[in-house]
Amino acid sequence: MSSQSPQALVAEEDQRSNGGPIINDFSIQVATVNGSGSQSSNTVLMRSIFQMGIPVSGKNLFPSNIAGLPTWFTIRANKDGWIARRKEIDFLVAMNSETAREDVMNLDPNRVVVYEETLKLNQYRKDLTFFPVPFAKLAIEITPDSRLRKLLANMIYVGVVGELLEIDPAEMELALTKQFKGKAKAVALNKTALDLGSKFARENFDKTTVPYKTQRMNATKGKIIIDGNSAAALGCMFAGVTVATWYPITPSSSLCEKLTDYMKDHRIDKDGKATFAIVQAEDELAAVGMAIGAGWAGARAMTSTAGPGISLMQEFVGLAYYAEIPVVIFDITRVGPSTGLPTRTQQSDILSLVFCSHGDTKHVVLLPASVEECFTMGYEAFDLAERFQTPIFVMSDLDLGMNNWMSDPFEYPTKKLDRGKVLTADDLKRLGSFQRYGDVDGDGIPYRTLPGTNHPAAAYFTRGSGHNENAVYSERPNDYKRNMDRLNKKYQTACDEVPQPEIISPKSAKIGFLAFGTTHWAIIESLDQLQREYKIPVSYFRLRALPFTKHLVEFFERHDRVYVVEQNRDGQMEMLVKAELPSELTGKIRSIRHYSGIPIDARFVTDELVAAEKGEK
């Protein structure tokens, strides 16, 4: 990663402070150890800022471990609504002795540090503002229980930070009550800790030395905070999912776990029976196999996994493609290959999804960028799967799936569920017969019947081996080729029905970005930086699904250079773009790649683009 250019840093500082305190534009990093219960405290801190009407985002950078290893939680407040990760930390809360020194050394000058007094961090830097707090000692005042004291120390720092940043105490109390909803004892105990923190800061620190302040605004009214996996689970529930089969894997587990919670609340019939089945399978092979079996028998079926699970599912996915069976597969991507960095984010499964399985296969992949799209695409995926009788992938990532994001509330889907081309016994009475793999409508999509259809012409034999239009085993070259060509036609038909790209194209722009998924948040902020700091107008093509649509070629025709920005080493999307474009346009492709496992940030994109553009001249 390149570091922020000094020029840009100065420009940003000027813009942020305007001489006085920096209002509603800062990032807080809390460094703790995982398993210490800091998640609740950080959520309370983030929520109280949100409740003050200030746009906010939270990112948890955690280890692949249950307890005892370093964890960092970053909260970014930004009055302009930028919610991508910001690389620079303004306000550090250092609770972890193991990383404290390094955390402090990494800060830019003039930043603020709240820390556990005994860590003596003020010895390392002279250019920072330090606020030592005896967290452990203060916690003793609240409870003699040493385990509880550790948890409460976390709520004490929330009180300290709140006081220093001038967060409204009423909002903090509200956020705390919401966090520990229904647990009166926990609310009381945590409230005591929160107040203790505020009081300590009030009595011991001069808060005017903190350059960062919160101030009430009105930018979050009516908004919600939710993580992408919960949003996707809601999308599935409102799509009327009936069968979900899954195997635990980070970062996707919470999707089916949340789905289970929601379904228990909203999908139990009056007589107490479930209108769904959720099964934790023995492995990913079984998870996708069950979903495919259920999809074949007519259920709205899904599974959710991450990269290693996708690898295991490949054989079955090829079967579902070739035998034409609807199934929805969520891939919440993480850092590969192999176990890789299982708790870090990346967009590196693109090729393994598009071409999932052996032989000539290609798949529809939806690319949500926001929690709202996790909901809408989660919903649309089932319609597409049943319409096209094929696996539909939804590629989210750890950053989107497991972090909390601010969003407009989700809108209730008004479209009737599309159950696809399914023939009933009555249809068959009328038609007399049907061809399972015939192309009656010219769109490449055949008709199917479900097991249990009471008509002599209903049954057919599904197989992964070669078959003709009547689903009869065939090794004839023409049968095979005709079928593969029809599958291709079906894929082309999907171009018009998948979520279409969103294109921002200023008239004066000669260059453009192409990005997808969570990279979006860095791109939109970078567009602003490029305009403000460098006066470079840049267009933006946000890809929302594969296959590509005609818009891709048009976008390349209109621009001199297009930077494909993605979070993987090999430029996987760039390869697909290159394969899609006519050869006279491929020379316009440029690439920006971010693959450290940390969410991409705007400054990185801006710096990379500016450097590359200099080279173009």
């Binding site: 089945a277 079984a286 196999g289 079996g293 028998a297 509330p409 209730y412 097991p451 049954a459």
Partner: protein, 349 residues
């Protein structure tokens, strides 16, 4: 005792649902002439016809291998799915989740079940997914021309003369250990026993497992093989003489008391076991396991209903699903209301 299946009112040559036997047949077999699998196919056709199974309610499922081809050779009016190697259990589980009113019959082989599919197989048994699971066991990989499978007996000879030096997996013993509550072993050359057992399995709730020795005439029917027709015939030890009384017929008493044991199945049918020389009780788990172990030591090939327990709940019951198929539930029953979404959203504000 009576074994005719037709209720008195049914027309001649039809079963109680009015279907003729041709309605239960499938396409022509492409297996080798004399293959044990074809014998089992005929037994399935006969059992389903005689029981009076509605073919539209059946799902035929399989993995990969010679055995897995056979669902194309029976019940052509039923939907069939020939999936990927060793993965039929997952598929079957999904099918039953989607539509629990279906009757699933899976056909697998010893390679498909005991090697590549072992992982899924044990979990299917553990869950007790309601289905009939037939292993057409011939001890070799037929489609790839005669390699040993994991059920080939220690010392059994391949066609090339090579001796198998690994012990066989006893799928019945394993199934009992894993909680399967209908475990039968049979022989493709014993249609009477197999048909009675198949009909009984149709009335069972849960996984009904059949380990059927089904000789491969091309690659494993020579001297020195322990899965040949001759070896099976010479070594078969019948646990009992089995007859089946369907739920729609009255039980008649033909035998002296103490000579037979009746087991009532979930659908009200009865299976009547006429004791061979030893008084075998198939509801006794330890006795079942002991008998299997003993038969191994004696190089006997034990057939019959080895274990049955009609008490254990099946997987779908545990999931507390509605009775109607999930697959065809209308939108108003699967999509929560706009109010529900509004409530969820306000909770997140």
């Amino acid at each position: 005792m009576s074994t005719t299946m037709q209720p008195p009112t049914a027309p001649k040559n039809t079963n109680r649902l009015g279907y003729v036997i041709a309605d239960y047949k499938g396409g022509d077999s492409t297996l080798c002439a004399g293959c044990g699998h074809d014998a089992i196919t005929s037994q399935i056709i006969k059992a389903f016809y005689e029981y009076g199974v509605d073919p539209y309610r059946v799902a035929k499922l399989s993995g990969i291998g010679c055995s897995s081809k056979t669902p194309a050779y029976f019940l052509s009016r039923s939907h069939g799915f020939n999936a990927v190697h060793g993965r039929m259990p997952a598929l079957a589980t999904g099918v039953m989740l989607a539509n629990q009113t279906l009757i699933s019959i899976g056909v697998s082989g010893d390679g498909d079940t005991a090697s590549i599919g072992m992982g899924q197989f044990v979990h299917l048994l553990r869950r007790n997914v309601p289905m009939i699971y037939i292993i057409e066991n011939n001890g070799v990989y037929g489609l790839t021309k005669g390699q040993f499978s994991a059920t080939a007996d220690l010392g059994s000879k391949a066609k090339s003369g090579v001796s198998n030096d690994l012990p066989a997996i006893d799928l019945c013993a394993m199934a009992i250990e894993l909680g399967c509550n209908f475990v039968a072993r049979s022989f493709a050359g014993d249609p009477k026993q197999m048909i009675a057992l198949l009909k009984a399995s149709l009335g069972h709730r849960g996984t009904a497992l059949f380990d059927v020795i089904s000789p491969c005439v091309t690659f494993n029917n020579h001297d020195g093989s322990t899965k040949s027709y001759k070896y099976a015939k010479d070594h078969e030890e019948l646990l009992h003489d089995i007859s089946y009384v369907p739920f729609f017929e009255q039980i008649t008493v033909d035998y002296a008391e103490g000579e037979t044991k009746d087991v009532e199945l979930h659908d009200g049918s009865h299976i009547r076991l006429r004791k061979a020389d030893k008084g075998y009780d198939p509801t006794n788990k330890s006795e079942a396991l002991n008998s299997l172990r003993k038969s191994q030591e004696l190089n006997e090939f034990l057939t019959g209903l080895i274990y049955i327990n009609e008490e254990k709940p099946d997987f779908l019951t545990l999931l507390n699903m509605i009775d109607a198929p999930l697959a065809t539930l209308p939108q108003e029953r699967t999509q929560p209301s706009e109010d529900a979404l509004r409530e969820i959203m306000s909770d997140l504000m």
